[in-house]
């Protein structure tokens, strides 16, 4: 018997790292030939586009409102001086210069109350008087005429405050209307069902421009002689009717998603139709469709840019008013457009993030 010399197996090489930067790059960017190609092409295209945009927008840009420097930098660098020069007019519209503090405070107040309504902490009965008080203060500040404030006619309201006001007030008015229309569409009474269906399908089938044209030009003809309606009110009516149709569809989806057992249980408890809707159906249905309602809100915010067509100068309209008559600064329209693109983007992105947060929150509360 001979003692076998113990030959240990050669140690295997250490396995490659599964974590860390290199591994991540390998799986996400270079996992296959096709993937590698796509990565390289995208890096090239997107990278060079990004670099040249940064160069134009920041490095070679002119920031002060110096017309000479701006003209020299044409094609090479952006002229943000147009914002320094005209930014205030673009954001505020034709509101008198000395009274700019009023729309700023009023809009801040409105946005503050809207933000408070979004936070679950404040979801209680205090919201109703809060909104009522906010609306009263808002209109007093904006219109003036009382408390020593000079009166500012509504056709001079403009810019970002007008955009915010049209959206918030349009949606506030449209929301109750849309609930009634949605309930009407699901009603067992054929006449009411038909009326609500006709309303929704008619409004949803036509563009917002035609609704605004009708509201702005035709509404005075519909009224009896001597009744004059402010142009702002006409536009708010048009926007409200339009938004209510779309929101009614969203609310109807929520009502449909509710199990029938809920209404049946309410009936066994002896609740009347309106009690059922108020206590059982609507709270559950509305909670499920908040993300879609936020989508409608974002859509309305963007659609307010169309009221320029009926000569109310909100943010987009105020820009054309500011730049079209000024030959010096008109060549730099692109920079001004990008400025208000940024404003719209910030608002809409914030709202869509909020709606995602609400969606997650409702989902969490359901998975218990």
């Amino acid at each position: 018997m001979s003692a076998h010399h113990f030959e240990p197996i050669a140690p295997r090489p250490m396995p490659g790292r599964q974590t860390g930067a290199i591994a991540w790059l390998r799986t996400n960017l270079f996992s296959s030939w096709g993937n590698t190609l796509v990565t390289l092409v995208l890096l090239l295209v997107a990278g060079s586009a990004l670099l040249s945009t940064l160069d134009w927008a920041l490095l070679k840009a002119v920031f002060g409102s110096q017309l000479e420097a701006c003209n020299n930098a044409r094609g090479v660098g952006a002229c943000w001086g147009v914002i320094t020069e005209k930014g205030r007019f673009i954001v505020m519209g034709r509101y008198p210069d000395t009274e700019h503090w009023r729309p700023v405070i009023a809009t801040g107040l409105m946005l503050g109350v809207v933000a408070m309504s979004c936070m679950p902490r404040f979801w209680s009965g205090v919201l109703v008087p809060l909104w009522a008080g906010m609306l009263v203060v808002y209109f007093i500040l904006m219109k003036g005429g009382v408390l020593g404030l000079t009166e500012v006619p509504t056709d001079q309201w403009g810019g970002l405050p007008l955009t915010v006001m049209l959206t918030v007030i349009g949606m506030t008015l449209a929301f109750p209307l849309s609930i009634f229309v949605a309930l009407g569409r699901r009603s067992t009474m054929p006449a009411i069902r038909t009326i609500c269906t006709l309303y929704v399908e008619l409004i949803r089938g036509v563009p917002l421009i035609t609704v605004l044209f009708m509201a702005s030009f035709m509404l005075p003809l519909f009224m009896p002689e001597g009744v004059k309606i402010d142009v702002l009110i006409r536009v708010v009516v048009g926007i409200t009717l339009f938004a209510a149709a779309y929101m009614a569809e969203v609310v109807r989806g929520g009502l449909q998603a509710l199990p029938k057992g809920q209404t049946e249980a309410a009936a066994t408890l002896g609740l009347s139709y309106w009690q059922t809707q108020r206590k059982i159906v609507l709270p559950q249905a509305l909670a499920t469709v908040v993300p879609s309602l936020m989508n409608t809100f974002i859509g309305m915010f963007k659609d307010t840019s169309l009221v320029t067509i009926v000569s109310l100068y909100e943010l987009t309209g105020a820009l054309s008013l500011a730049l079209n008559s000024d030959a010096d600064w008109r060549p730099f329209k692109l920079e001004a457009y990008l400025f208000i693109t940024l404003i719209y983007f910030v608002f809409c992105f914030a709202m869509s993030r909020y709606s995602l947060w609400v969606e997650e929150r409702t989902a969490v509360s359901k998975t218990r």
Partner: protein, 342 residues
């Protein structure tokens, strides 16, 4: 019934009652103006020389001055005017619906507008014609625009005139039609179109105020249409129509008789009987119109006679720099001929 249902039922009944109760009859605009104490005047959103607001919201221009004259005659104060800026699409519906009392917005007098819109033209405060503006270059006449792209604003007589001109001369012009005048001029100045067309006075105003280098653009001498511009009122209010017409005539007649803003108080006593009549020193013409005898004196004091209005807003000393030309008095070879005020 519960309270909600009661409310719904009452609302329905109330709506039906409203349908029966409120009669729809035409009101008197003049009474409304007097009781309101303010004249609501529809003007252009911004046409230099005719109606334009500065950054403080003060309006000036030929059309604005006419509104001031009417306000001075009717209400006694040229400042009691509310100016409503209107674009070309809204102007007629705004007047039809009663939103404004007078439309003073460089509007061309045509048959269809005078006859079928329920509105009346008051007179002509500027004889104009449609022309073209091109970048300075090889084009010297409108007939050379064969196949050219021309920017034009929708809703004006300009579109139709351009088509008629193009068809009559077989030029096959391609119009690019924009809703807003700023978009049209913007497209022209960016080079999208080879020419821009509107009334010649508008061309002068755009060239002076909106061109980067006014000398690089030239207004072609051809006028392809007649554009008599004037104010409009609604049909059915004959008193306001008469007042509006005769204020305009009065301003023209004032220039003919040498009455101007400076001497309106003193010239009453120079012995000319027509001057005395017009200014209310000898005869009261105002009572035929339902006004007091100083109506024309106030108007001239507020804005001057027609010649002064012209010189101040669009004359050779302004940046618009338009010659009197056809808008001179008939005695100087122009077309301004007012019927006698007597």
């Amino acid at each position: 019934m519960t309270s909600l249902k009661l409310k719904v039922a009452l609302a329905a009944v109330g709506t039906a009652a409203m349908a029966v109760a409120l009669p729809a009859h035409a009101g008197k605009t003049l009474d409304t103006i007097k009781s309101r104490g303010q004249l609501v005047c529809g003007v252009n959103t911004g046409l230099a020389g005719f109606s334009q607001a500065d950054s403080n919201g003060n309006w000036s221009g030929l059309d604005v001055d006419y509104c001031k004259a009417v306000a001075a005659a009717v209400l006694g104060d040229a400042g009691k005017v509310k100016y409503v800026p209107l674009n070309a699409q809204q102007r007629f519906t705004a007047l039809q619906s009663g939103e404004i009392d007078i439309l003073s917005r460089n509007t061309t007098n045509t048959l269809s507008r005078d006859a079928s819109l329920g509105l009346h033209f008051v007179g002509v405060n500027y004889y104009d014609g449609q022309g073209f503006m091109v970048p300075k270059g090889k084009i010297t006449s409108a007939k050379q625009l064969r196949g050219a792209t021309v920017c034009v604003q929708s809703g004006t007589t300009t579109e139709k005139n351009l088509t008629d001109f193009s068809r009559a001369n077989k030029l096959n012009i391609k119009p690019v039609v924009f809703e807003k005048v700023e978009a049209a001029t913007g497209a022209y100045f960016s080079g999208r179109c080879q020419a821009y067309t509107t009334d010649a006075s508008g061309l002068a105003s755009v060239r002076a105020k909106e061109a980067k280098d006014p000398a690089a653009h030239v207004v072609l001498p051809d006028l392809i249409s007649k554009e008599p511009l004037g104010p409009m009122v609604r049909r059915g209010d004959d008193e306001l129509f008469a007042i509006a017409k005769w204020v305009l005539n009065g301003l023209i007649e004032a220039e003919e008789y040498g009455i101007n803003q400076a001497n309106v108080d003193t010239i009453k006593s120079n012995g000319d009987p027509q001057v005395g009549r017009m200014l209310g020193a000898t005869e009261d013409l105002g009572k035929h119109l339902g006004l007091d005898k100083e109506w024309l004196a106030r108007s001239v004091k507020a804005v001057g006679n027609y010649g002064e209005m012209f010189e101040r807003n669009v004359g050779p000393k302004t940046s618009i720099n338009l010659p009197r030309g056809r808008n001179n008095l008939w005695s100087n070879g122009g077309l301004m001929y007012a019927p006698p005020l007597r």
